[in-house]
Amino acid sequence: MTATTPLGAGRAATPTPRAPRPSIVQIVGEIWESRDLVVQFVLRDLTLRYTQAVMGFAWALLMPILIVGAGMMFRVVLATLANSPLEGSSIASLAAKALPWAFFSGALSQATSSVIGNSNLISKVYFPREVLPLSTVIAQSPDLVVGLVVVASVMPFIDKTGLSWSGLWVIAVLLLLMLFTVGCALFLSCANLFFRDVKYIVQVLLNFGVFATPVFFEPQMLGPKGASIMMVLPLSPFIQAMDVALVHGHSLAETIVVASRKGDVVVWAPWMLAYAAGWSLFLIITGIYVFRSGSSRFAEMA
């Protein structure tokens, strides 16, 4: 059997032309063309999740409630140790911050397995593979909306500040969070197909993440240095912004400084929003490229 192999070792490789890689505009265009497929996948996920779970609507609130519960326990311990009372606003803060966290961790752990979970489709039918992580993330968003409505309607009763127009910032923050999550999901779902243990690593990191980001903490608890380290984590601004805009009613264009025992802590600054937006764009663009270059080998790996 002697066939010339264009990529074989030893032989002078004949320059074999290959189709050029599609640009990001082409890829996004292709995904847009498949929007009906995204809708169908989202509907499939939602139908299965809500018709099978007896609790239905309450299911959407279960994760945030668990996170708030865990945060409460954590804060009660901290408050007891520090001999300071637990304020009503911190419960509202916990609830508001639990929402983006529940969305992010839920979406990411689902989306990491989204490609491998559809390996029978990957090896049999062509469609833009980006649709899989994308629709998995989108399918998590109704939970976020339900949670947001519940938190917004309960908040005036547990917190004196109440809602203000600044709450509308939340929409921008959550849209950016969506982009950020899809970006991460593209990387991880692709990686998990090549390395099947990525999903376990993701799970461990997500368990840590709740302490590394300001879900349970207020930044001022960590002092100036600790707070800035925490806010460097790309996910932190999203979580902190929920507290600032929704619970405390500040505009995200303001800089908010809170005094702590170790000095003044910048709890929020406009650059944080820009920083989060920058990360979101960076992740989504590189994510699309990396995913697309990996997806040419999906069918062989699946």
Partner: protein, 410 residues
């Protein structure tokens, strides 16, 4: 709408796969990488690590073309289809696709068992690239074609496998792609549905769009295709007219172990002494002659003969000297006479002598083919001519008299 005509072009397409085990987890990869870096595991040469599933494949399909791809198992048909369908990328070469591709492959791959038939139609339709509006417009037609309207709101997990496949095919059959790719989906459902499915495929294939068809059923290829490619171990063995390729394929089944000059049994002549045209159910006499030059008779080797149906490529009959106590000639000239009763439907058959290794259960050397035409005798349907004889014992008080039931003397 594309302004250019839909077309599909393969230019020197190669595809290789990695052999052996893949590291598909970090737990395996990290130690393996470390071993390679420290030189404890020698890097294997590329030829050892890869094999080529498709080698230098070129063809083009234009409107009005129906290209058939044939070949045995492992010839590269499925890989070619996957490259065509953009599921895989070629390792080298260019695939130019102008227009949307619709594939009648794995027609129910996207079904979710917990969703109803109705929900799955929308899901599978979207997976195959249909717009929602399109699915809605064709929904009634799809349900009607599937023939299971009463179960459309039942979860698919309660469907029989036949129902599942029928619904899947019904969806795929309503695609309107610029280019159509068909794998052997014909083996779907019961005989009646298969006929319906084939009629539909025929209709889609003759609509003028470029079509690529992969099938083991050679009669389908010869019936539908305008041109064909014969693949063997990833390489093109023959191209051109479907009949040419089918002949080359059937001949290829006989090509092994010849002309090497090694000690062998060489079949020089295969003749039908009373002519190559018979009627179904009649006998044909085959003479096989040749020379043998084997040093010592290998154990288990026996002379044998097979009959292959050109339409389907199926081996309809094989017989060896083992059953007839005919030994294998070892030295010098030999000649056999074999009488076959052609109890087969009308068609073209190929008779082929070969040497059979009854211990390893494989054919060793094969001879030239002889084509036998079988003509119709008394019409019948099915695979075997049984030369039936009917006699009426009792026919009731009245019998129907219609042109179809005119009594025929068998």
């Amino acid at each position: 709408m594309t302004t250019k005509q839909p077309s599909l072009v393969f230019e020197g397409v190669w595809k290789r796969f990695r052999k052996g085990q893949l590291h598909d987890s970090l737990r395996d990869l990290i130690p393996a990488t470390f071993r390679r870096m420290t030189g404890r595991e020698p890097k294997r040469p590329a030829d050892d690590r890869y094999f080529w599933a498709v080698r230098d494949l070129s063809f083009d399909v234009k409107p009005g073309d129906v290209l058939g791809i044939i070949g045995g198992n492992g010839a590269g048909k499925s890989t070619t289809l996957k490259i065509l369908n953009r599921i895989m990328e070629p390792s080298a070469g260019i695939v130019k696709v102008n227009g949307t591709i619709g594939a009648l492959i794995e027609v129910s791959a996207g079904f979710h068992p917990d969703l109803t038939g109705r929900q799955n139609i929308f899901l599978q339709g979207a997976i195959m690239g249909m717009r929602k509006a399109e699915v809605m417009r064709k929904f009634d037609e799809i349900v009607d074609f599937s023939g299971i309207p009463e179960f459309i709101d039942t979860p698919v997990k309660r469907y029989s496998s036949g129902m599942n496949a029928r619904l899947g095919f019904a969806i795929a059959a309503h695609l309107e792609p610029d280019i159509l790719i068909i794998d052997e989906v014909l083996s779907v459902g019961d005989a009646r549905f298969q006929q319906k499915a084939f009629a539909r495929i025929k209709q889609m294939a003759s609509a003028g769009a470029p079509v690529v068809l992969v099938s083991h059923q050679l009669d389908r290829i010869s019936e539908l295709c305008t041109k064909a490619i014969l693949l063997e171990r990833g390489e093109v063995r023959a191209t051109g007219s479907p009949l040419n390729c089918i002949n080359a394929y059937l001949h290829g089944m006989s090509g092994r172990g010849q002309g090497t000059g090694e000690p062998s049994v060489e079949f020089q002549r295969v003749l039908a002494s009373d002519g190559q045209v018979v009627r179904s159910g009649e006998e044909v006499t085959i003479t096989v002659a040749g020379t043998a030059s084997l040093d010592n008779p290998p154990p288990g080797w026996v002379p044998a003969l097979c009959v292959v149906d050109q339409r389907t490529g199926r081996n309809v009959h094989s017989i060896s000297g083992l059953q007839r106590d005919i030994p294998l000639p070892v030295e010098g000239e030999f000649e056999y006479e074999i009488v076959l009763q052609m109890n087969v439907p009308p068609g073209t058959y190929h008779v082929m002598p070969f040497v059979w290794d009854s211990l390893k259960r494989q054919d060793i050397m094969t001879g030239p083919r002889l084509q036998i035409e079988v003509l119709e005798r008394s019409p019948f349907y099915g695979d075997v001519q049984m030369n039936s004889r009917w006699r009426a014992i009792k026919l009731g008080a009245r019998t129907s008299v219609s042109p179809d039931t005119k009594r025929q003397t068998a």
